[in-house]
Symmetry: C3
Subunit: 470 residues, 3 copies
């Protein structure tokens, strides 16, 4: 499922009049792709190269000259060269004086060098205007049309006029420039394409730890305990039965952990009596990766659904049901129908289905293209109201699952309760606290604090009664 393009328009053109001449230093893959793209959009391209004679595969119509000759042809020079080879530019300082140098380089590691490539370039050629841009788009995306890949191009530079010119060029080749400020931003821009899901790290470690803990816990209770006590070989439960206990537990706990930081923040604000003090860093970071935690929870819930639905086609389940039937048949004893069991079993399953359905809804609305379509009020309605509803339904599902067995002493093995009992602690506590927080008296105070009121401030009265800013 690599990204492809149904709608690339690889237009070969030789327009009679050209927009302007742009110089590209370097005839590597990236230089060539960019040159071709800009040719198609009407620019006249001059390549600068070490060996102008040897360069091949260049877009037809583009000139190839030596570096200094090429630089003289244009105001704007795009550097498609690795940072390690920037030093030859020092020989060209005269030619490059007053020109716009566009640094598009990337490094191999985050913070590989003390300063960013663009700042290093600005030191090498102090007379030039350095603009950082285009490092987030790949040669491949340029070649195959820009409709599919991300079209956001971060741009930064100290001189706003030259930055504006570079942004115009970027816009004219079908990409979306995004001004990120001065060259001090270059470091962040250069690190961006090297990141590997930075916001996912904490949620992934968290869920891995939870999975591991509950897996071991269940192995102890369901494999080791029966082996020690009855010499039963239950190892086959590791494949499906135990994952199908671990996944729903982790899903429920992660879902609760999505809403926990909001509640903690509310308590902190109530305690401090103001919203104008920063939250501790761990809470800030936690709040920023709530979406990722929620999506992981959805993944575990999805696995739980699949693991549950395959139950009837498992060999073990079929064998057990058949033997039960055979035993009863040989005893010629029919099972009486137990309405309350039917109710418990059905409502437990129905709650699970509804919870999963709401969960999927939440997941769909967190797709970027869907969340872009809704306004702020709708987004908050879905993520907050619907999210809590999901949590309530899923918690109820787990509670009803326990049914009569819940905390009965029979279920203890080596004093360990069922794993799902542990899983219920956080969601139940969270729901109780949330319920307290939405009691009218507390909710009113919280709303006032969030509108800017401060309990300890001498100006609080005026802030409340006077002009309140948005």
């Amino acid at each position: 499922m690599e990204e492809t393009h149904t709608d690339t328009l690889p237009l070969t053109m030789n327009s009679s009049e050209k927009k302007e001449t742009v110089c590209i230093f370097g005839t590597g893959d990236y230089g060539r792709s960019l040159g071709l793209k800009m040719c198609q959009c009407g620019y006249s391209i001059v390549f600068g190269s070490r060996n102008p004679q040897m360069s091949s595969l260049l877009p037809s119509g583009a000139e190839v000259l030596s570096y200094s000759e090429a630089a003289q042809k244009s105001d704007i020079i795009i550097l498609a060269i690795h940072r390690e080879h920037y030093d030859f530019l020092t020989e060209l300082t005269n030619v490059l004086n007053g020109k716009i140098l566009v640094d598009i380089s990337n490094n191999l590691k985050i913070n590989q060098y003390p300063e960013s490539n663009a700042e290093y370039l600005a030191q090498l050629v102090p007379g030039a205007f350095v603009v950082k841009a285009l490092n987030t788009v790949s040669a491949w995306a340029l070649q195959s049309g820009a409709l599919d890949a991300s079209r956001q191009i971060f741009v930064c530079g100290n001189d706003s006029k030259t930055k504006q010119r570079v942004m115009d060029i970027i816009r004219s080749i079908g990409l979306t420039p995004l001004d990120q400020g001065s060259l001090m931003a270059a470091n962040e821009i250069e690190n961006y394409p090297l990141q590997l899901f930075p916001m996912w790290k904490f949620p992934l470690y968290l869920s891995a730890a939870l999975c591991l803990f509950f897996f071991c816990y269940c192995v102890v209770r369901e494999v080791i305990y029966p082996y020690v006590h009855n010499m039963e070989d239950n190892t086959f439960r590791i494949a499906i039965s135990i994952p199908n206990r671990v996944f729903p537990i982790v899903a429920l706990m992660l879902l609760a952990l999505v809403y926990l930081p909001g509640v903690i923040a509310a308590i902190l604000q109530l305690y401090r009596g103001t919203k104008y003090r920063r939250f501790p860093d761990w809470l800030d970071h936690w709040m920023l990766c709530r979406k990722q935690i929620g999506l992981l929870a959805l993944g575990f819930a999805f696995l739980h659904v699949l693991y549950t639905l395959v139950i009837p086609i498992r060999y073990y389940v079929r064998w057990r049901l058949r033997n039960l039937t055979i035993t009863q048949a040989t005893l010629k004893k029919e099972d009486p129908f137990n309405t309350s069991s039917a109710w418990l079993s059905d409502s437990y399953v129905a709650l699970g289905i509804l919870g999963f359905f709401l969960f999927v809804l939440l997941g769909i609305t967190s797709l970027p293209s869907v969340s872009n379509m809704v306004n702020w009020r709708e987004f908050r309605f879905v993520q907050s109201k619907l999210g809590y509803l999901t949590l309530v339904v899923c918690t109820a599902h787990t509670l009803v699952y326990g049914g009569k067995r819940f905390l009965s002493p029979k279920i203890l093995r080596w004093c360990l309760p069922s794993a799902y009992v542990l899983a219920l602690i956080i969601p139940c506590a969270l729901l109780v606290i949330k319920f307290i927080l939405i009691l009218p008296c507390i909710d009113k105070t919280l709303t006032r604090i969030r509108q800017g009121w401060e309990r300890d401030s001498k100006f609080s009265k005026s802030a409340l009664n006077g002009k309140t800013d948005i």
Copy 2:
């Protein structure tokens, strides 16, 4: 799953040269967030405040002055103040004369005031150019980077030059301005962020009504009837069995209701002999919320699939199957295999799976980012051809489900047929009418009408033979 940002680039910069100075009135949350964002994008910010000394948490580098001092520093003044506190602006009319006032305020309710905030502002300060903008983006989205939240900013104003300037600023901070015309549009722009899924209201009420009706219908047939006749307690069916009857029925009916207005419109156009007369309002509204109705139908179909797949793990089903087996085992009687039952059961299930698969395809192509990738012809192919195929397959699924029992008198209880029989009325009627409409002779007339031909027009001949406009 709150919206977060993996790619916020919170750039602190102190660029040597600034773009231009912008003044923000009000140092509340929104004012500060906007100011910080604009600082990062190279603007020089001056805040206007009641108490310039007391303002805290402002972006470093920003000045805070009194309102009138601040207003003198810039051409453009962004009002981050609630409408209720606009009156102090009347004292500043001299200073504000000829300046651009950007109204970013929102109200708490739709149509809270007789005129929009922006128009009210224009009345208060007649000498200023009022532009409405930025009310749809939240302080939170500004703070955390604009990549994830909706970046569409509606802008309106009477003076196009000043509006253009505001749009340039919006574009430069990474948002997408959308010109909505003169200040008369301000009312709609202000109502936009207060809406809560306006297009979903009718579809939701409709499906709730259908669910309620069929739920009661099924309760009467499957819970009350057996209780009255045989004193059986079937209440446990309310949890799963009855929802699993109601959901597929509602899904099928809603799917048919997606395509019904198109057929009604075609009949109307055939009857009137022209496409140049407006449809009645109810039909217009119905056609506008077809996507929502279809998505709700998909939701019910999804629930139906889950409710069906859990059947074998229900206590009731296991109990019934076991008892059946035990009875036969004690009678030592094996069941003969019935090929036609196998065919009926399998083809009913296979049709259901295919129908659901097509339905999911329809749902995926209606995701905004997917529908953006296809051209108009492809979109119509998917939504029309694939949509009707889905309807045909789902209707066939329901018909085969009935199988031999369909309309047999045995199935009547208190003269009430099975619920699925009622559900089939609309889809079957729709498919018959659609079939008639695509007969060549009728289809030809319809196509001519849709290309602009009018039956009763004296100019129809010329329109057909002469120059036809697009």
Copy 3:
């Protein structure tokens, strides 16, 4: 699920000052919709019509004049007329001299005429500046607001100034212009909206052929063979059992075919010792439609999952299980529990679930809006690492499914092995080759080739040690 709009802002405005006057030739649906939209965005519109008196349903405030009168009112004339009726323009050459003509026409078939409509127009009116634009957006999308439908507008033209003006107009009505170069691109732009999933054709034919082959193969083995040998009527297997063999096989083969071209390309590059030679055309095309092949594979996998999950509610399966139980019950013989069967069955199912889960993840990340959010490194990580993991898990799933029966002679029928054995050939071969390719010694050479090194080049040494361009 037709596309609708919750957020259309149908603004009726009579702004005191207008941006500029634009002339539209043709008062058909498209002309009117475009006119209305431009009116709303502040333009003053003059329509040109054959019968200015007869035109109806035009936006209020718009003038309707004869063609030549209308043309004199504005610099920019948008032609909302079919190509067949362009000839009247030759009479207006004097008036049209020096004006900008925007050609928005579409044809009914791809390459219907020898030259594009825009080039034909440029020949008819040589003195005018012809710009091709707006042909990809429908009248309907214009009417109902541009937030939902694709907002990308391809623009081309020989004169860059006039092209720029048209692009500004397009941007001001809320659409995103995309410069495609000179008028030679008009042909491709005109063909674009007529395409019907061009990239999907090969994948669809491929999977249809695979389905057909394996369907026939399975019918021979599972329906015809038992009929010939035992006179059993197994035709009912055609509805579910056989599709549920065919779909997973096709899914696995298609998934392998997604990654095969990459491996072939690597071998070709290793053999040639350079990356600077074009791949054969078939390989190029294959690589471009990998995403489509992968999505089809996901579709088949989804069907396989559904077909598998309904197994326990099928009449045939229930009948078989019941009879097995009855037979054993009458013999009063209980089945001993077989741990290795439980392990095989459970691990086979668990692998299938994990494989499907990873597959769904791949599918979600290939949604345009999701892939837009990740940077290049993340995208490659997901599509390459995660993709191969999916392939490994799914292949293992199939291998374990075979279990002990794999290639046992008992399973041969008319010398035909089980279908899944055939399905395993390509994935297993692919995984073996891939494993060889990632051995350090080979991987190193390949990486060097992909960084630009050439084995046979006299310059290879310099390219490696000297300055390497990006």
